[in-house]
Symmetry: C2
Subunit: 162 residues, 2 copies
DNA sequence: AGGAGACGCTTGAACCGTCAAGCGACAACA
DNA sequence: TGTTGTCGCTTGACGGTTCAAGCGTCTCCT
């Protein structure tokens, strides 16, 4: 920690940063834990299923789904293979363009989302919204948008290969 | 997404939530990417090294270090083994109580932190603080504290075994 | 039509984290 | 001083993610 770097963090920023990093890690872990315990799926798997459930025809291209779920295409491919084995999803080539693969939520997959969502939402509410004031919730939304656009469209998403 | 669950999310909350989850994942990934690219270490490894560098004698018990770095003891043990092989850290039993293991930062480890920190701090600043107003930085710190205490001392940290 | 290249996705290997079992060191009690 | 229990940590196997290479499909250009 040598001195006089051009733009060092001051104490306030440092504290914000440590608090945020800790929140980042522990909130992720807490959401994962709840889903794993109550539904036997990871947070990423939940995002995949929930993303499909909100889409028209319960269908999305793999690449769109990867973007929505903030994961790499490779990771999504492995995960969809597992979800397929569990009977919640199936894949089919896009009739409009054979390069695309469509992921489709089955009825069983829909049921899974319906059964899982309330508990998950309750946990999000308990850990994230209940402790905050209305004003903080508004600020948080704005902060999220600003940081997300600072990160850039895809800077952090290792979605493009090599 | 069936209706009238007791405490469903409204549109504003929903948007806050999606923004935050996305920020959560992408910010973690962005910080990891920067460190991996510029220093060849993971964010967790950085937290470990940086935690030691800020401690008296550059020394910390494994369990304290795990708490600081928000990771399990098992994970820390594996990571320290790797950092030991790279010559940045060594372990020694606590002379005061043989059950504890002390992790100590070597000179090479200190150099590594000094070389790595400025770039990392710059990235944190670029992605997290620069896009926010002073007021939002203050809010973020407060939000972090509130959410962290909602998660509880260790609810999300799988630091205790079995 | 045919070839080159771009695109979307998949695959297998290597790596990392988690989980459960187990080890040595210490404390409490007989 | 044993014995029992707890504590802090380590270990190996397992499961998931990443990385790089490769496949099939489509587009563009001649």
């Amino acid at each position: 920690m040598s001195a006089d770097e051009p733009r060092w963090l001051n104490d306030e920023e440092r504290e914000s940063w440590l608090a945020l990093v800790s929140m980042l890690i522990r909130l992720s872990a807490a959401l994962d834990t709840q889903l794993q315990r109550d539904a036997g799926i990871s947070h990423f798997e939940y995002q995949v299923l929930s993303g499909l459930s909100m889409s028209p025809e319960r269908t999305l291209r793999m690449s769109e789904l990867a973007l929505f779920a903030d994961g790499s295409l490779s990771r999504l491919s492995h995960v969809i293979k597992r979800l397929e084995k569990r009977g919640w999803v199936y894949r089919t080539p896009d009739p409009a363009d054979g390069r695309y693969t469509l992921a489709v939520l089955t009825d069983a997959g829909w049921e899974k989302v319906v059964a899982t969502a309330p508990g998950h939402v309750a946990e999000v509410r308990r850990l994230l919204f209940d402790p905050l004031t209305k004003a903080q919730q508004r600020q948080l939304r704005e902060i999220g948008h600003r940081v997300n656009s600072a990160i850039g469209p895809d800077e952090a998403c290792p979605n493009q290969q090599s």
